[in-house]
């Protein structure tokens, strides 16, 4: 645990340097390090051939090294030093330090130093420099500092991509969108570390599940391997006479070991003089990437004799075909993906038939592929129970579609559902399956996809499933936060939330960001949850039921939980009239906890005095994010949100909020004498005030739009319009809301609405349904069809607009 923490967070003191054995490029001179750092200045990374001491300082180092300093000269410059000599000293490249953790990556490839920002290595390249005299022996990475502490975390070393083109292409791409949740990303990275333990490398020269033997060398050493893996990496003629044993008398074991190592792990070490033999072996079995790499290394060696001491081991590392996913099978391996996928459908080399109860034969698969992803499958195939000796397994209680997706993931390393909208419903089942068999990368993929399309409508169903899965904690928390931010919506659109378990529901209620229009709603939700209601009821309806029933009968097992949850309702924030009603209700009489809470609240609101000490109780505090209610009373009243904005939110006398810049009003046509934004909220009658049409998507489009300000949101439940002096009456129009000014949601649609029939007439409408519970920043009245005017049918002629509802600031 400690070790992990350390790994997560490391502070390097001034003028010190941290070296670690694992912070090392697999291949000298080539590699990439991705990390997060937090500092005032001078995030410093040193690259050299061997590890240094803690007191190492690059200024005193006389062995070759690269030193890269982000935020040098009081966090203004980017500096690169080669062997202590400054070669790059640039300002304004945008590579500075920040006190909050920022993600960076640095890639070195034969002297080409690339530095980028963001969590995804090789994306978002910011700076690049090529050393004309490359130092190809740098391998160890030191995390260092200058005069201030530097914090590092999530340091990962990756193989470098040989694809420079890939790097160059990134130059044009803008900054990648960062996840809103830091901890979620951390979760992913944690996962990557643990996943390192399991993989195909566990099956290297392992007799388990092997189905082919290589007899190597004069000593006739038997080396086990797996046909599906070997076959997908090269051409082994397993179809010929004696397919299960292959004799290789002319190959020595160390060379064959390196050969297998390369196929099973993507990396191999050989002595320099064995390179030729390795190349010949690769040529014999047509392992193309290895042939190429052997030849490349031999060429490099010929060019620069100094590169390798003879007798030293050469490391060969397979370039990752998908840099972002290079820890995931099969991208780090020289495997022919197409061939592998094809074998899943043809069953070539298959050693296990998978049946699913109720579906019969699902696939002819390969034990080693299932096992390299899942320790559970490994045990299933090797621990001596009936599956170990059988070429058939039968899975029960397993979703057929989800299992197929999981299989395809296992053969391709990618989640197919990502871009197929119709498969969305499968995601949760795949997630469950991935969790059941411990396929961590698939689980992470599912979590990520689900997170990306998380919405108010889906949180409940997701929470129901994942709350019992400990490995999805961060997704669970994101769902709970989402729910608590849209508490009204999630608890009034349907009763799905009553299926949440107590922990999730209680977490939601305790969320500091819980946003709700009134405490009454929380009370309602707790009661509904307690009785596992199938219909939406308010507390008054529950109260009526209780007149002829008991809490035991109504809540059953959940009565205890209800008693635990009730104190989370902040009764003291309720209006006194409501509290008085609650006091007399059967709810109070039958549920002592509720009675006590109501009494406490009444006492508080009557005397504004509380028992000593209870002021600290959150129950008496206003919620951080609450909504202020603006209730429609009558047309043209002073109770609307736009009026409130005119009073600087209750601080001053009313002035036109457009003039005081509290809100912004725009029209579809340019402002003019008769299209005056400030007139719309001026609260005085205008004889002529209209928004003219503009062409959008080839159609006439007229609207008036209000922006209530960046930090403000409104759940609009009522609105008022006033016709100007003309008789161009609207018949088909809509009130719409938006958060981003681009995507609009209909709040209320009017089709052939005859209500407006007089010049200067006021009219108001409620906004019903679930959209009234969505908070928006932008609102607009948009014409959907021509008005009654013949001369200007697309002029939207209103001279007043007011909005009501729950306002959040």
């Amino acid at each position: 645990m400690d070790r992990k923490k350390q790994k997560k967070f490391l502070i390097v003191p001034p003028f010190k340097c941290t070296w670690r054995k694992e912070l090392r490029f697999k291949e000298a001179g080539r590699g990439c390090v991705a990390f997060e750092a937090s500092a005032h200045n001078d995030v410093t990374l040193v690259f050299r051939e061997r590890v240094g001491s803690q007191h190492y300082h690059y200024r005193t180092d006389n062995t070759p090294n690269y030193t890269i300093i982000l935020g040098s000269h009081r966090n203004r410059r980017l500096k690169i030093e080669v062997n202590g000599k400054t070669v790059v000293d640039e300002t304004g490249v945008g590579l500075c330090c920040s006190l909050t953790f920022q993600s960076y990556w640095i890639s070195i490839y034969d002297g080409l130093i690339s530095i980028g920002k963001g969590r995804y290595p090789f994306q978002n390249l910011v700076f690049q420099w090529l050393d004309s005299n490359p130092n190809c022996s740098v391998q160890y990475i030191g995390l260092s500092s200058w005069d201030k502490h530097v914090g590092y975390r999530n340091v990962n070393v990756l193989p470098s991509t040989s694809n420079h083109i890939l790097l160059w292409n990134q130059m044009d791409n803008g900054e990648l969108e960062c996840d809103e949740d830091e901890d979620i990303a951390d979760g992913f990275i944690d996962g990557l570390e643990s996943e390192d333990v399991w993989g195909l490398k566990c099956f290297l020269e392992n007799w388990d599940l092997s189905d082919v033997l290589f007899i190597v060398g004069d000593e006739e050493k038997a080396v086990p391997a797996h046909k599906v893996i070997m076959g997908a990496s090269g051409n082994f003629c397993f179809g010929s006479s004696n397919p299960d044993v292959i004799q290789l008398p002319g190959v020595t074991y160390p060379v064959f070991h390196a050969f297998l190592q390369y196929i099973y792990t993507g990396q191999a070490q050989v002595l320099e003089e064995q390179l030729g033999a390795l190349r010949d072996l690769s040529l014999q079995f047509e392992v193309m990437p290895l042939i190429k790499q052997c030849e490349e290394i031999t060429d490099r060696f010929k060019l620069n004799k100094k590169l390798f001491d003879s007798g030293r081991k050469v490391e060969i590392s397979h370039p990752c075909s998908l840099p972002q996913r290079c820890t995931v099978f099969p991208f780090e391996l020289p495997i022919d993906l197409q061939r592998l996928k094809q074998w899943l459908s043809t069953g070539e080399f298959s050693d296990v038939e998978i049946h699913i109860d109720g579906h019969g034969l699902v696939a002819r698969s390969h034990k080693v592929i299932l096992s390299l992803w899942s320790a559970a499958f490994t045990k299933m195939f090797t621990n001596g129970m009936c599956e170990s000796n059988s070429s058939k397994i039968c899975l029960r209680d397993t979703s057929f579609d989800a299992f197929i997706e999981m299989l395809q993931f296992m053969y391709s390393g990618e989640l197919g559902v990502q871009d197929a909208t119709d498969k969305g419903s499968l995601l949760l089942q795949i997630l469950l399956l991935a969790d059941q068999f411990g396929v961590t990368p698939l689980l992470q993929g599912c979590c990520k996809t689900i997170l990306e399309c998380l919405s108010e409508d889906t949180v409940c169903s997701i929470l129901q499933v994942i709350s019992s899965i400990p490995s999805c904690k961060s997704l669970e928390e994101a769902c709970e936060r989402k729910f608590s931010k849209h508490f009204d919506y999630c608890t009034t659109v349907n009763t799905d939330f009553v299926f949440l378990d107590e922990t999730s529901f209680s977490d939601i209620l305790q969320c500091p960001n819980l946003t709700v229009t009134s405490e009454e709603r929380i009370l309602d939700a707790i009661l509904l949850w307690g009785m596992e209601a199938s219909d939406l009821l308010g507390w008054e309806a529950v109260d009526t039921i209780l007149k002829t029933s008991t809490p035991d009968l109504l809540f059953g097992e959940r009565l205890l939980s209800v008693n635990m949850l009730l104190p989370l309702v902040r009764f003291p924030l309720m209006p006194i009239t409501l509290l008085k009603k609650l006091e007399k209700s059967s709810l109070s009489i039958q549920i002592p906890v509720l009675e006590e809470l109501v009494m406490e609240a009444i006492k508080y609101s009557v005397s504004k005095m509380t028992q000593p000490g209870s002021n600290q109780n959150v129950r008496f505090q206003h919620r951080q994010s609450t909504f202020k209610e603006f209730q429609y009373i009558c047309d043209g009243d002073n109770n609307g949100v736009l009026y409130f904005a005119g009073t600087s939110y209750g601080k001053h006398q009313w002035v036109n909020p457009v003039l005081s810049k509290k809100i912004t009003v725009t029209a579809s046509s340019p402002a003019s004498r008769f299209t005056d934004p400030k007139a719309l909220v001026s609260r005085t009658y205008q004889g002529t005030s209209f928004a003219g049409p503009r062409i959008e998507d080839g159609k006439n489009c007229s609207w008036w739009m209000v922006d209530i300000g960046e930090d403000h949101q409104l759940m609009c439940n009522y609105y008022t319009l006033r016709q100007d002096g003309s008789s161009a009456f609207m018949r088909s129009w809509a009130l719409q809301g938006s958060l981003d000014e681009k995507n609009w949601t209909n709040l209320r649609v009017h089709e052939n609405d005859q209500t407006i029939c007089k010049p200067g007439q006021y009219v108001s409408w409620p906004v019903n349904g679930p959209t009234a519970l969505f908070p928006f920043r932008f609102f607009r009245v948009v014409l959907l069809g021509p008005t009654t005017s013949d001369s200007g049918p697309w002029n939207l002629c209103i001279c007043f607009l007011e909005l009501y509802g729950y306002f959040h600031m």
């Binding site: 129970m385 009936c386 029960r396 209680d397 419903s425 059941q436 411990g438």
Partner: protein, 173 residues
Amino acid sequence: MSNQKKRIVKIEPLKQMVNVDSKLAWKILEDAIREIYNQNVSDLSFEELYRNAYYMILQRFGDKLYSGLVTTLTKHIREVSELIEAAQGDLFLEVLKRKWEDHNKALEMIQGILMYMDRTFIPSTHRTPVYQLGLNLWRDNIIHSSQIQTRLLKTLLDLVQRDEQVKLYLGEE
């Protein structure tokens, strides 16, 4: 814009979660653990056992599963302990060793079928992992058993002594 498109992916609730009778599930696992100690494993289905243990954890019967495991293991180890105590003379060490090996093999299998619990339930509730638990129970019930501890010590010391004597004798030769 592509972001917007993604949002359309609708996540549908699971139609129904499989409901497993925890009593039945535990019965299956308990029987299996007995069979594992009796070394009748080839008829057991890993898939069935793993699935039952998985559903027990998923449906929050983790406590039941864990305490059941502790009880069953303890019971079994006590039986073994009696067998070892009953062993006479030279057989004592032999029986002890054989039972220890059997125990280890069995533990590995039990750890396999309860792998899901090991991965999820145990870290989140800060309990002892299955394998370690088995070793601890062996230590507490067999190595620390008053009957066995003294006898084991004595037997080993006797052996060492005999060994020394043989060496001494050979040396004199």
